[in-house]
Amino acid sequence: MRLVVDLTRCQGYAQCAFLAPDVFTMHGEEALLYDPNPDDAQWDRVRRAAAACPVQAILVDQTEIPATAQEGTHVR
């Protein structure tokens, strides 16, 4: 899956790093590093992280949403 974080907007709340730790990690106090193309198995966690971001800085690909993920179940 494909995602990007708008780091102009990110303020380092680290919600994503708690919700999807295999995809988002804090690097220092505020700096965020992330995997732009994580495995599809991360879909649910990434979706929760994107929803929880206080500044809505995480953009998840809108064209490759797995049908199963839309039903709220884990993918693969």
Binding site: M1, R2, L7, T8, G12, G28, P36, N37
Partner: protein, 465 residues
């Protein structure tokens, strides 16, 4: 088909042909905007790189650190764009009168409207023989990043970073995090001096040294020396010293990808393609064109907030915002067109510190630390020009910058009159210590050139979210 007037604009929106040259962040977001706003005509995406649009900021961070493979930064899509993709084929010419783009494979593609989003490339090492040595790198594309990552993973004994702008500082930071010895050679007095000035650059110099970087300022690299098999072995510096290095990363800024526009009649050069605030390209006479638009790193556009100076911004957020305006304006006419007025903003991550900027720091004659302290590397500094706030820079204090953005948009007085939280014991205005613009420089991320006549009727309003 021309698209003047509401009826013809409507017809164009239904069945016109738009060509976008440049298939990276700006080109992709413009294409998505076109479809989002109802463009149902045909769309051609031309890109010189073979890959689908990918993100570049991770290349100097996650990718060099080995956390993410270089080919794994593909950009997410906001929507389907139903485009005819021509990837891996650069555009080599533009015929404005015939409305045609020429491609390197001999094809010609006609268009009703064109978006130029060809971006910039890394400025190569000037000496061609030395440039080709095994071990000399630049960093712009995912291919560049893959090659450099492979070399760093092979544990070179010492890496030389040439130039301490944002790219050079991020590469040095990644090298130290990998436990590699690294020397940084910077012509200016401190890192990032062109973008942030000498005061904050001094803070960054301490960050380099405390993380074990061999930072050498006020020197240039005069020669790169190879062994008989063509492998980089040594670098010679302007102070007469030489250092043994296995890898050198050339971080000397970038050049606009505008060669393909030579002779087209557009106002294009190494510092981009000039366009108006509505993203329409200027021709060499300074007359705005009707059917050619520009967005992203290659665009040089006037910003009313900065006295109509033309800003050449290599900022991720600017590419997105400008592409949205360009896409909107390409299928709009008259008063429905919008100006690109987004306040410039950028970020960098180095040595575990999040550096953020809003506004144009180089557009300043004084600065003041408003919150925190330079010594703790946790602060917000405001920049002022002729008594108004023009920029702010934060180290690990990103949450305050929206507030400073509002001050910039409102042309708030400098020094600011409010009492900030976490303010330093002594607040004083000082020179930001930018280098003399008359001297050669590669470090600035913003170039300010020329101006349009002031138009007092313009009222600045923030871009829509």
């Amino acid at each position: 088909m021309s698209a003047d007037g509401p009826e013809r604009a409507h017809a164009f929106k239904k069945g016109g042909h738009i060509v976008i040259v440049g298939a990276s962040l700006a080109g992709l977001r413009a294409a998505e905007t076109l479809r989002e706003e109802g463009f149902t005509g045909s769309l051609t995406m031309i890109g010189d790189e073979p890959d689908q649009p990918y993100d570049r900021p991770p290349l100097s961070k996650q990718v060099l650190l080995g956390m993410v493979p270089a080919e794994h930064t593909a950009l997410p899509r906001r929507r389907e764009i139903d485009a005819d993709w021509r990837l891996g084929v650069p555009a080599i010419g533009l015929d404005l009168d015939a409305h045609r783009v020429r491609l390197a494979d001999g094809q010609e593609i006609g268009f009703d409207r064109l978006l130029i989003a060809t971006g910039v490339r890394a400025r190569p090492w000037p000496n061609e023989n030395e440039r080709d040595l095994d071990g000399v790198f630049v960093l712009r594309t995912n291919g560049d990043a893959a090659r450099l990552r492979r070399r760093l993973a092979a544990r070179p004994r010492r890496v030389l970073v040439i130039g301490a702008g944002f790219m050079g500082s991020e590469v040095a930071s990644a090298c130290r995090e990998l436990g590699l010895e690294v020397t940084v050679a910077e012509r200016g007095p401190v890192p990032l001096v062109g973008a942030l000035g000498g005061v904050i650059g001094s803070v960054v110099a301490r960050m380099h040294r405390e993380h074990g970087v061999d930072l050498r300022c006020r020197v240039t690299v005069t020669a790169l020396e190879g062994d008989p098999s063509g492998r980089l072995r040594r670098a010679h510096l302007s102070d007469g010293t030489a250092i043994d290095v296995d890898a050198a990363v050339v971080c000397l800024g970038s050049i606009g990808n505008t060669e393909w526009l030579a002779g087209s009649g557009l106002a294009a050069g190494p510092r981009g393609v000039a366009c108006d605030a509505g993203c329409r390209a200027f021709d060499v006479n300074g007359i705005v064109t009707d059917d050619v638009f520009v967005a992203g790193d290659v665009a040089r556009a006037p910003n009313p907030l900065y006295e109509y100076n033309f800003l050449f911004l290599e900022h991720w957020g600017n590419a997105v915002a400008q592409a949205e305006v360009a896409g909107h304006n390409m299928i709009s006419c008259g008063s429905a067109r919008r100006p690109h007025l987004a306040i410039p903003a950028f970020w960098s991550t180095q040595f575990g510190v999040s550096i953020r900027s809003v506004g144009v720091p180089t557009f300043a004659d004084e600065m003041m630390v408003m919150q925190g302290s330079l010594e703790e590397r946790r602060f917000v500094a405001a920049y002022g020009h002729r008594g108004r706030v023009t920029a702010a820079v934060a180290f690990d204090q990103a949450k305050w910058l929206d507030f400073y953005r509002e001050l910039i948009m409102a042309a708030a007085p400098f020094p600011p009159s409010f009492v900030p939280v976490d303010r330093p014991p002594v607040m004083r205005s000082m020179s930001p210590e930018f280098p003399d613009p008359a001297l050669p420089s590669h470090g600035a991320t913003v170039t300010i050139t020329g101006h349009l006549p002031n138009d007092q009727r313009v009222v600045f309003t923030p871009a829509r979210a």
